[in-house]
Amino acid sequence: MTRAEAPALTYAFAVCRGGDLTASAEPLAELPGFGTGTPVRTLAAGPLTAVVQDVPAAGFGEEALRRRLSDRAELERCARAHHAVITAVSALAPAVPLPLATVYLDDGRVREALGERETSLLTALDRIAGRAEWGVKVYAPTGPPPAPEAAPGDGPGSGRAYLDRVRTRQRGREQRHTLALRAAERVDAVARGLAVAARRLRPHGVEVTGKHRTHVLNAAYLLDLGRERELRAALASLRRDETDVQIELSGPWVPYSFADGGLVDDGAAP
């Protein structure tokens, strides 16, 4: 072993169809990957090719990985490194992204794992080829509601007026929330109409959205390449109509949310 004294593990980023990548894999070697000093490389396994990197067992063993992924900054670094390689691979060929921290003892184990899932990986590659994932997020602003008009005859200090104000405020909040959820369902229905598959993701917490808004829809759509123009136009029109909510679009993403075969979920909530 000349590279390093420490034993190495094989970290797998993504899987492509063999022929798609071999001719064009050179740019991968330029990628830092996890910055371990070893090149990001391809690993042939039958009709498939995995994109992998040798990583030190000291940093990527079970215990070490758990520690690293439990640290917010380190989790971010790992997630971005993983995502950067997958994005680069996907620019060269259709690629099925593997989850963060998919680590094998050696190259042979990668080949075995790919061999076991060969059919479903090939199916997944067919499904995502020529398509991209787009994220649509809908937010409801949580600003203060319009001040309720004081009821005539009640002084500002009266207990009854106070209770009325509290009740009105509460009702207003609920109403606005219901409106926002309905708007989100309409946005989802329009985006779904353009997509070959759709999936709901978890809404983001306040740490991500900020206190001024609530996340009411976090969805991913698998679109044929070239249809994003229609999606943008549809969202622009929705933004004009749905004034109760903010609508955001992100993408194109490597089709992470559509790699595992789960296609359309069970439809919009009532």
Partner: protein, 121 residues
């Protein structure tokens, strides 16, 4: 804010809005075809779970109030599923500890047998 999307089509490599990290995390943590690696990371690991709970919607109650519940079946974010799985793991560990203790006890009359517990199988 949102019109930015129309003026500058975002690309995945761009540093974009603050939810960028959350968007990457929700995709790389539990998306992608599931082929098991040799190294198993428990995404229920308590620190990671805490990070995820902060980044994603914080509690079942909050979500229910918001009318949002389609993610509840995800064990990594449903507190009840997490509790259940911890309780199960706990029960299994107790069982194994008990088995080890009785074996150690039978061999050398030391019912606690804690000294050997450092080595994990």
């Amino acid at each position: 804010m949102t019109e930015r999307d129309l003026l500058h089509p975002p690309s995945v490599t761009d540093e974009r809005h603050p939810s960028d990290l959350a968007e990457i995390l929700e995709r790389v943590l539990d998306k992608g075809i599931v082929i098991a690696g040799d190294i198993k990371i428990d995404l229920l690991d308590i620190e990671l779970l805490t990070i995820r709970l902060r980044l994603f919607i914080s509690s079942v109650d909050t979500a229910r109030r918001a009318g949002i519940d389609w993610w509840e079946t995800d064990p990594a974010l449903s507190s009840r599923a997490a509790r259940d799985s911890l309780a199960q793991e706990n029960a299994e560990l107790r069982e194994r500890l008990h088995a080890l203790e009785s074996r150690v006890g039978a061999e050398e009359l030391s019912p606690v047998g804690a000294a050997g517990e450092e080595e994990r199988p």
